[in-house]
């Protein structure tokens, strides 16, 4: 693991991706303290101000500071996306490992059902879930988590199939350990790495999907300054104040690029075959 970490830090992908992700985490943790203005403070004398020394990202139609809103909004966008991906990773790892361990018709039934869920495009599936549960940020997280689970199940199962044939698993079976013990204590720890790699790339999709749902009015609700919601609200002022839309849009893209790069970097670092 330290070796692969070294490879990661040496690759340009890993450096840029890791840097962007670190910046995103700093924003999430320190956002409210770093923000120069109160994100919902109205100022009718400072409406539609273009980016300048006072307001780096400009102001919106109510004179609110866009930079401060973006900094606060980082919590909504990034934490929600990380949460959705984490839930999908845990669910996927457990179901995938269990499926590989049990094998036979149970495995077949689980995997064919996962195939069927994957046949629904993830945005469509998220729409379906939000339509059932009602529009809110928590429901959007649930929707993304469920939509991402089958992909995680596939990754986890393919690794778990190889782990299943290892001697220590056979030993645990012979010892008479329970299914839950074998799956959770023996097999799961050995499939964590590939699931994390898959999860990192998935965070980028989750950020985009969550922002898209909010943009469509089905995720985070006003007065939140979630980035997709900010873009959506900025649309009616697009031609008077394009910065209102460009700044949060840019942030979504940068965070997505960061997690994409970090995920690819991790994959290369952990996969000896691609080190050419």
């Amino acid at each position: 693991m330290p070796d692969s970490l070294k490879t990661l830090v040496r690759s340009p992908q890993g450096v840029v991706g890791g840097g962007l992700c670190l910046l995103a985490i700093v924003l999430v943790v320190l956002g409210p303290w770093l923000a120069p203005f109160e994100p919902n403070a109205l100022s009718f004398t400072a409406r539609y101000q273009p980016p300048g020394p006072m307001h780096w990202f400009g102001t919106d139609q109510m004179g609110r500071d866009v930079l401060s809103r973006v900094m606060i909004g980082a919590r909504d966008t990034i934490v929600m996306s990380l949460l959705a991906t984490a839930i999908a990773m845990v669910l996927g790892a457990v179901i995938g490992t269990l499926s590989a361990y049990l094998g036979g018709w149970v495995d077949e039934a689980i995997m064919r059902t996962m195939d069927a869920i994957m046949a629904i495009p993830s945005l469509l599936f998220a729409l379906l879930i939000v339509a059932t549960l009602g529009k809110s940020d928590v429901n959007a997280v649930a929707a993304i988590a469920i939509a991402f689970t089958p992909g995680m199940v596939r990754v986890a199962r393919s690794v778990a199939l190889a782990v299943r044939t290892q001697d220590y698993v056979s030993a645990a079976i012979v010892r008479g350990e329970s299914t839950s013990h074998i799956v959770v204590r023996e097999m799961l720890p050995n499939i964590v790495a590939p699931v994390i790699v898959e999860g990192t790339v998935r965070v980028a999709f989750a950020v985009m999907l969550f922002a898209t749902l909010s943009f469509l009015g089905l995720g985070a609700q006003p007065p939140s300054s979630e980035w997709g919601l900010m873009v959506s609200e900025a649309r009616s002022h697009l031609f008077t104040a394009p910065w209102m839309m460009i700044m949060p849009g840019l942030c979504i893209a940068l965070v997505a690029i960061g997690f994409n790069l970090l995920g690819d970097g991790l994959r290369d670092a952990l996969n000896p075959r691609s080190r050419t």
């Binding site: 064919r112 059902t113 195939d115 069927a116 869920i117 046949a119 629904i120 495009p121 993830s122 945005l123 469509l124 729409l127 379906l128 879930i129 939000v130 339509a131 059932t132 980028a204 985009m208 922002a211 898209t212 943009f215 469509l216 009015g217 089905l218 997709g228 873009v231 959506s232 649309r235 697009l238 031609f239 394009p242 839309m245 460009i246 849009g249 979504i252 893209a253 940068l254 997505a256 690029i257 994409n260 790069l261």
Partner: protein, 315 residues
């Protein structure tokens, strides 16, 4: 490719659609404790609730509800829209036609851009061109459609004033007007796919170019143009077909967003309207039709793959 393979592949497609239909129905109609209350809200009168229950068949057992709905679907009847009171099927299939035209344009544009980009970056691996294409594709993959769409609209409709920002003109009325309204949506939808597929073509090309038969072709003295286009590209394209088919799922998701932004009356927009107004029959029809389109695309891609790659005998 033999009949057995086609049959089995057809069977899994049908099974997938069965599971999808069950999921869609269970999530929209069975999962909410009382779909009638969900639809009308808590303040609805008992009479109104009863009439909606009767209309949806909620007073019947679950298996009957599913069967009633599903047998209707099989005969092309998706029920009546709760918003307009009209039949869902004609509305949805009309919208699907407009969406498929957009999807087709986006797919063609994507292939025209992505394949040459992938080839160039594979042949110039590690050089400046490869690096620039790589950076552009990372940016392309990380920009959600709603951001791309808004930026393109700002640039081409407002700053330059070349194209209409939103709206739709039917193809049968005015071909030029239709095309003008389709350019920005097509560009937006194909952006992410270009980034994804060009990376795929690049990595396949890199592998193929390093193989023995390419070295043999080079040693035979063939021109590098002939080696790349006739020998390498053919084999690099095979895995790309599968990726493109999988990307159709992403494409269909992108179309939903793009239709909403550019106000194109396709199936994506119809679905969003249905979700926002909680029009259950329309939601069910929209999701099922889009999922079926995706499943069909994957089925056709698998057949194309098996037909092109004669080495694979799916026993």
């Amino acid at each position: 490719m033999n009949a057995g393979y086609v049959g089995r592949r057809l069977l899994t497609t049908v099974y997938t659609l069965l599971v999808v239909s069950f999921l869609v129905f269970a999530m929209t109609q069975l999962l909410p404790a009382d779909a009638a209350v969900t639809l009308l809200g808590n303040s609805a009168t008992p009479e109104a609730l009863a009439s909606v229950r009767a209309q949806l068949g909620l007073d019947q057992p679950a298996w009957w509800q599913y069967w009633h709905w599903f047998s209707g679907v099989l005969s092309g009847d998706f029920g009546q829209s709760m918003r307009t009171g009209q039949a869902v099927a004609p509305m949805m299939f009309g919208a699907l036609g407009r969406s498929l035209l957009l999807a087709f344009l986006a797919l063609v544009l994507m292939l025209v851009i992505a394949i040459p980009l992938g080839i160039v970056s594979a042949l110039r691996r590690g050089k400046a061109a490869d690096l620039i294409i790589g950076i552009i594709s990372y940016v392309g993959i990380s920009l959600p459609e709603f951001v791309t769409a808004t930026v393109l609209a700002l640039l081409f409709a407002d700053v330059l004033g070349w194209l209409p920002a939103t709206g739709y003109v039917p193809l049968t009325e005015d071909v030029a007007g239709w095309l003008a309204h389709m350019i920005l949506p097509t560009l937006t939808v194909s952006m992410i796919l270009v980034a994804h597929v060009s990376r795929m073509v690049r990595s396949e090309m890199v592998d193929v170019m390093a193989s023995d038969y390419i070295r043999a072709a080079r040693l035979k003295g063939l021109s590098s143009r002939r080696v790349v286009l006739h020998h390498a590209l053919r084999n690099a394209m095979l895995p790309t077909i599968t990726i493109v088919a999988l990307d159709v799922g992403y494409l269909l998701g992108g179309i939903i967003v793009v239709e909403e932004i550019f106000a194109i009356p396709g199936i994506g927009r119809a679905l969003i309207v249905a979700v926002q107004s909680r029009d259950l029959p329309a939601i069910q029809a929209g999701v099922l039709i889009i999922a079926a389109t995706y499943a069909l695309a994957n089925f056709l891609a698998d057949l194309a793959y098996a037909w092109l790659d004669r080495r694979i005998q799916y026993a």
